[in-house]
Amino acid sequence: MIFLVDCNNFYVSCERLFRPDLNNLPVVVLSNNDGCIISRSNEAKQLGIKMGEPLFKARKTIEQNKINVFSSNFELYGEISNRIMKELKSFSNSIEIYSIDEAFLDINFENYNLICENIVKKIKTTVGIPVSVGVGLTKTLSKVGGYLAKKIPRGYFVLDNSLITQNILSDLPIENIWGLGRRYSEFMINNGIKTAGDLIKKDKNWILSNLNVNVLRTREELIGISCYPVSSVSVPKKSIRVSRSFKKDVTKYQNLEKYISDFAFSASKKLRNENRRAKELSVFITTNRFNKINTSYYAGFKKHRFIVPTNSYIEIVKYSISILNKIYKKGLSYKKAGVILGELCLENEYQTSYIVTNHNRNINNLMQKIDYINDRFGMNKVFLSSQNLNQKSINNKTKLSPNYIDSWNDIPNIKI
């Protein structure tokens, strides 16, 4: 059976872990730039705060109801997530970490309810985060179970009896099924497929000729035929992306160049942390759709391919700037920019080229020294001169909580 373990209101639960005074009070967590609401406590949901709602739209509700607002503290959430996943490994070796707050486990043990109870209890006591568990023959069914589990206090739901499962599926709206995009859901609703039960009844060939093979797979999964097994092998990242919306539009080339340098530097840092090299580099800049200065929307995008895959800060920043040169248009005001590293390969498994001479050793040494200093003394102690040091206009996190677990300066201070 496949168990889906899903953390309840994960970011909010993380914020509450070291703030017991916030239990039972409404709490929300904001996206990277304090732009939108991305996690809500049940109390905040009841007050009508919507998922993804921009902060400015919710401001009135927030002030009237004294909702506690936090910027996203991804260092804290990442550490708590790691802890949860490690604890889950004690239940099964076959575990697939699906996202920061979700994992699939393949467990062959008859007493499903007991395992669910143990999982909920263990994560709650040893890490301190509430989770819900959905169980089914396939990933899609376990997702249905997880969806139902969130609605009941005990926090888990097992779809094992075929008759009960059939009844549930015949009532389950198609848009609540995992893996069906909104477009396909709409198409199906328009064609009379309103519930999971309707989809199961539909003929395979009809699905293949009107929709696609993924929808067919979902149908198979709903009747208990596994198409997406739990894969414990972590899939390496296919690309690394660093992009931001600017608080204020950027018009000057020099400023844009500084931002792009920053993005390229932190993308390289992520690349190096994963022991990888990139073969492909892309840079994009887009204008503000809503700004009056811009006569029309412009999005510049260009790729560069390295002859030998690289993980050098200098090389990646240098080529990012040269791409920016090509895509920058004067007189526009830019809202968003980003750097993407693609076609990643392992540090030690890349093809060298006989066109490019092997000058890498010294560069490698230099890069390692940069990593050493920045890891030890704090990010951006060493940087490239093209970078922007004043990050205030990007990192706009005004309500950031302390990094309670991983920093001596931030550990909880408790009056006893």
Binding site: P20, D21, L22, N23, R83, K86, E87, T125, T126, V127, G128, Y404, I405, W408, I411, P412, N413, I414, K415, I416
Partner: protein, 132 residues
């Protein structure tokens, strides 16, 4: 594969004289991390202030190591929450009562009632004091 946390060096210079008898012994360094923290994945550190636990040797500024995976038992020092507040106290569990005991006679004993919002966060396994 390599182990990032434990790198042992065997620093040997080959010479013609009598070989050192200690040459084959890999020396591992004492790790306070290993000594103080049994379950890193479920352990957090907190800093405390106040004198309510001074008789057991917990003073202002000490760092306490709290393991969430240990089952709290009678006489354990615990980090708990009572009505939304963190507390560090000695736990007294009897058949029909839970009490929180301070290690300082100036602080009263706290009886936990059924209706109290009380949770044990973790068990305090060690206290670390630095002098400099």
């Amino acid at each position: 594969m390599y182990f990032r946390d434990h790198i042992y060096f065997l620093n040997t210079v080959v010479s013609a004289g009598f070989p050192s008898p200690a040459e084959d012994i890999f020396a591992s360094k004492l790790s306070l991390q290993d000594y103080l923290i049994k379950n890193p994945n479920t352990t957090i550190c907190i800093k405390v202030s106040g004198d309510s636990m001074k008789n057991i040797g917990i003073f202002s500024g000490d760092i306490l190591i709290v393991d969430k995976s240990i089952n709290p038992r009678n006489n354990h020092i615990v980090l708990c929450t009572l009505d939304g507040q963190f507390l560090v106290k000695k736990l007294s569990i009897t058949k029909n009562s839970i009490k929180l005991i301070s290690e300082n006679k100036n602080y009263p004993l706290v009886n936990i009632n059924e209706y109290d919002d009380f949770k044990i966060f973790g068990v305090v396994t060690a206290s670390v004091k630095k002098f400099l």
